[in-house]
């Protein structure tokens, strides 16, 4: 009987993630001081910045890399397709949170939840593009066609990431420029001390969360893949039985899945 589908490493990662998220919440809500200009609304940025950074650069970056490796014949494997899909789904979740928390912060600071600012608009477009990517993955086709089609859409969607990144420099926007993420800001940071420490901790906590979610989401994708194989084999066996042909098909899905141990 299966009582767990997690490895020891995943469970340790899970506890580390929970502890770091709890510490981030305490630092952000209790210990970190209010900002001179933003006052207490700065506390929302300890969620907004890590989710934005992770979704755009890590989640969608890994989706893009895995898609390239899938499209390249020498490295083509189902592993890369499943990795790309799992990472994109978590990226969409984080980017949705970025937009939500940003809207709440905007209501406090600008007086409106939403404005058609260049950074906000390009981020919303990015969100819709990756929702489209997840939808494309569900369009019925053979597994190879489905994976190739999804990989191409992933590469096309990633083109928007640098546009979102540079939107605050290319256009005049309400959204503030990077506090840390550019070379000149690294030399003259706009955030220091406890506030910088809390932000850094938030980025680490959400990176651990991404790693934990990714481990579980990948295993789920792998199991869904095996279930699809099993259902296909069952359908073939059924048709053969109807036609009076022996069912000689092997069902690899009945074997204990390696990735689940």
């Amino acid at each position: 009987m299966i009582t767990t589908t997690s490895s020891r490493a995943t469970r340790i990662l899970g506890w580390l993630t929970a502890a770091s998220l709890a510490l981030t919440a305490v630092m952000a809500l209790v210990i970190s001081p209010p900002d001179v200009n933003m006052e207490d609304s700065v506390r929302l940025l300890y969620l907004h910045v890590p989710t934005a950074w992770l979704s755009m650069y890590i989640c969608f970056g890994i989706t893009t890399l895995a898609s390239v490796l899938y499209l390249w014949k020498r490295t083509r494997s189902r592993f890369w397709d499943l990795t790309a899909g799992a990472s994109a789904e978590i990226g969409v979740l984080f980017l949705g949170l970025t937009l939500l928390i940003g809207a709440i912060w905007g209501r406090i600071t600008w007086g409106v939840y939403w404005t058609w600012d260049a950074r906000l608009t390009t981020t919303a477009v990015l969100f819709v593009m990756y929702l489209g990517y997840l939808a494309v993955r569900k369009v019925p086709a053979t597994p190879e066609v489905q994976s190739r089609r999804a990989a191409i859409v992933a590469l096309a969607s990633f083109v928007n990431v640098p546009i979102v990144h540079y939107a605050v420099e290319w256009w005049r926007t309400l959204h503030q420029a990077a506090s840390l993420g550019s070379p000149q800001r690294l030399l003259d940071p706009q955030i220091t001390g406890t506030m910088a420490g809390t932000l850094f901790l938030g980025v680490i906590a959400f990176t651990l969360l991404y790693a934990w979610l990714m481990a579980h989401r990948f295993r789920l994708a792998w199991l869904e893949d095996r279930l699809g194989d099993r259902q296909l084999q069952a359908a073939i066996d059924e048709r053969r039985a109807e036609a009076g042909v022996g069912t000689g098909g092997t069902n690899e899905a009945t074997a204990e899945p390696e990735a689940v141990r």
Binding site: M1, I2, T4, T5, A25, L29, P34, E39, D40, S41, R43, L44, L47, T51, L93, G96, L97, L100, I101, I104, W105, R107, I108, L209, L213, H216, R217, R219, L220, L223, E224, R226, L227, R230, A253, T254, A255, E256, P257, V260
Partner: protein, 42 residues
């Protein structure tokens, strides 16, 4: 704390959305692993 309602709403929504997603992934994964395990259930 100024604007406490908005700030706590942001934190609660984040915890709720991530928690719900994590729970869905783990529960579905366990259900599929059970479904795909050998028939003797060992």
């Amino acid at each position: 704390m100024t604007d406490a309602g908005y700030i706590f709403a942001g934190y609660a929504a984040t915890a709720g959305i991530i928690g719900s997603y994590a729970l869905w992934v783990v529960r579905r994964k366990r259900a599929l692993a059970r479904l795909l395990s050998p028939p003797d259930g060992s």
